[in-house]
Symmetry: C2
Subunit: 143 residues, 2 copies
Amino acid sequence: MPDALTAAKTAADAGDVPVGAVIISPEGAVLAIAGNRVQRDHDPTAHAEILAIREATRKQGNQRLDGCDLWVTLEPCAMCAGAIAHARIRRLYIGALDDKSGGVFHGAKVFDHKQCHHRPDIYDGLMADASADMLKQFFASRR
Amino acid sequence: MPDALTAAKTAADAGDVPVGAVIISPEGAVLAIAGNRVQRDHDPTAHAEILAIREATRKQGNQRLDGCDLWVTLEPCAMCAGAIAHARIRRLYIGALDDKSGGVFHGAKVFDHKQCHHRPDIYDGLMADASADMLKQFFASRR
């Protein structure tokens, strides 16, 4: 999670909402570290989780990341939760929860329906304060 | 929708599940045509809708496609519905419905929660038989 927070900080410094994600292989190697790039890339799909999944699957040459774990500083939205299911992520470690836009514990609850074909093991609240503080600071500085 | 079906056919010919998508600008210009490329690109996020949104936003230099319409041959999954909301697509035209993996009318029903910040106007059943037949034929040929 510290690497994910560093990626979030880098995103914030570049004007993007501070969210970061890291993917770890079954052997414990870092496959991808990504920060949110929506503003920089003019790409609404460039959330940290999507970028990390795309990088990790490219490296593995396989669209499924069986046995890989994803760490992300903020509860994934519905789009990212869907991508996490498609990628067959084994364990999902979440920092802060997101009652405004989250799609795991809130709203769409993407993993809770039979139309979702894979549900990772989910752990939340990991360094949640550091993640939430960074987001609060980011939005306060832009008001 | 004919262009989306052609993109779906091209996907099937290359071994990818036949789904195609087209994005039309407010002026009626084709901004993007894409077929599913998950298998070819080893990318679990490479659904037709995501690829079309990424191409259209890249062309427009804007992560929001205000006033743009998206045509897709199959009901979007939760991931793609989330991306469609993020991209602020105005009208969503759907071919066949998808009770197994859909995230618009089924399962996550992504647009139906307050955590989703934009809901397009949705029209379904457009050339649905042609789309469903292509999918059936694709899966039958692989059994």
